[in-house]
Point group: C2
Chain length 339, copies 2
């Protein structure tokens, strides 16, 4: 499919949320929803060429996940497949292309959760694992634990055959330049709040999926916040904040100002509103993203999907890299807010 066709397709439709279209009465439509970060993505920020590159990569990622589902694969595998595409791309702040810590390192976090088994895996602060989402998956599948951090997580990765890379693998000139500029501004005290500004929290990636068996899953991967220090852990590797999935309610992947997402336990809160207040995924996500989050001063966005195939994108920033593909419909990709 040509990108130009896509532009035409999604220009005509608002897809911030959509009801499930059950193609077969007996089951919900297989669905994958992804994001590549939320932030100050006002139109004009990127050139048309850059926009096209982002959209092409989002389309590639959503299709990679959908291909798993179409073959009858599991939602957890679809989530992993979509995220790997974005981790391997230098466009996003996850895997290759991650932002730099204050010490000039890349420290990556990821989490994954299976809504059928309510099992989960997460890693924080790894620097030599090519695909942190695969390591989170290995923690889930091959250990009795949920979360490993830093050196210990890397030791586990080596012992379990994950692909390891040198530190230099993650480095991109774009991120290095951003890092140097941020460091300079911070040292000159021009921007005490710089590391917390929009531009330094971009690009976390994530996916939620629903498979033919009606099981949902969620995953999130990030390079964290530019100039982060003290072994700061953000929301991405925190089950309940950065990701959550339970067939009883919904699957969520988050992106944004992590500290607020952790305090609000955003992913679990959205699914709790679905589960206990019987809200739709859109109503629940809107309450959290448009009320609770800005009330505290935070910003960001989420993707949410329930086992019936109802999904929503919600963000209180001017944009969120995002895409969806649902059985019976063309894939859709977008960056800016839909009017």
């Amino acid at each position: 499919m040509r990108i130009s066709h896509l532009f035409a397709a999604f220009a005509a439709m608002a897809f911030l949320s959509a009801p499930a279209k059950a193609e077969e009465a007996s089951r919900a439509p297989i669905t994958i929803v992804i994001h590549g970060g939320a932030g100050a993505l006002a139109p004009g920020r990127y050139t048309p060429e850059e926009e096209a590159a982002y959209k092409a990569k989002l389309l590639e990622a959503v299709n990679a996940g959908y291909a798993v589902l179409e073959k009858g694969g599991r939602s957890i595998d679809a989530v992993e497949a979509a995220i790997v595409v974005m981790e391997d791309s230098p466009l996003f702040n996850a895997g290759k292309g991650a932002v730099f810590t204050r010490n000039g390192r890349n420290e990556l976090d990821a989490s994954i959760m299976d809504g059928k088994t309510v099992n989960a895996g997460a890693v924080a602060g790894v620097s030599h694992v090519k695909n942190p989402i695969k390591l989170a998956r290995a923690v889930m599948d091959e250990s009795p634990h949920v979360m490993f951090a830093r050196d210990g997580a890397e030791k586990f990765a080596r012992e379990h055959g994950l692909q390891m890379v040198s530190r230099r693998y993650f480095r991109t000139e774009r991120r290095w330049k951003e890092y140097k500029e941020a460091l300079k501004a911070d040292k000159e005290k021009k921007g005490a709040s710089l590391p917390y500004a929009y531009d330094w929290k971009f690009g976390t990636v994530g996916a939620v999926a629903l498979d033919r068996d009606g099981n949902i899953a969620a995953g999130t991967s990030t390079g964290g916040m530019t100039l982060k220090r003290y072994g700061r852990v953000g929301d991405s590797p925190i089950i309940g904040a950065g990701a959550f999935a339970d067939n009883r309610s919904c699957a969520v992947s988050s992106t944004g100002w992590g500290e607020y997402f952790m305090r609000l336990v955003i992913a679990r809160d959205i699914c709790a509103q679905v589960e206990y207040a019987h809200k739709s995924v859109k109503e629940a996500a809107d309450d959290v993203i448009h009320h609770r989050l800005p009330d505290l001063g935070g910003d960001g966005g989420v993707i949410v999907l329930d086992p019936h195939g109802n999904y929503t994108f919600a963000f209180n920033t001017s944009g969120m890299f995002r895409a969806v593909r649902q059985e019976g419909a063309e894939p859709q990709v977008a960056i800016y807010e839909e009017k």
Copy 2:
């Protein structure tokens, strides 16, 4: 108060849960509830002398927290004060007396949360900070972040004037002996599941409190799981799992098999059931501890308190070290299950 008086007092009353007794119609009674871990605490496990020592320390801790509340202090300060008493005691698996990792180290985790501001702080894997709960508090108060891990967290501690100690400070002969036995059994493959058995998950401490202004708070501190490795992070430093507090619902501190508490995001789930399903703290805690947790195969317990002074202890183990003191009533301390 003599311990013998206490025995008489709590022998006569079941205090697994209690409605608030509003001493003043205009506000809820100031309250502090603490725990020192849940597990296979069947009667006979401890000698009468050991039981008395545990109960005396629990009483000291609950009174330390209550003294803060009685003077009009904040719930967050009461929580910290109570936990510091337990961290400083070798009886509990937190601060001094922490269990050992596979490498023979003590790695401590803690978290704290203020229900009024929904602000939170947490640290994972520190080895030189005398009181991890104080460090979690400093992260909350003195940084824009929520969570720091390992070396980075220790750097933050040093820069913020926390009391640092040598590794040997945390070591007790009792825990060292347990470690050596566990290591031997594990190496002989006698107990592949040993580190996950009851006895190796004991002694996490925590507190929830309600102050005169009607604000609630929660905190949790632990030495983690014996023989843990790979930088394993348990539930204690995870906001939403090990601790959660929000004046809109309730305050929770957890203890038990951390991985299950993380997967269920137990603290947030309980408060979500209070908030969205309009359950009492007892109904919500019972659903999670007696249904959702054992359905997955997990065990442990929680203490829960709402802004009206309603509190509950819930555990699916044979015992939980616990105490409560509420305005207008004598402090109560217990270990075993009440019949």
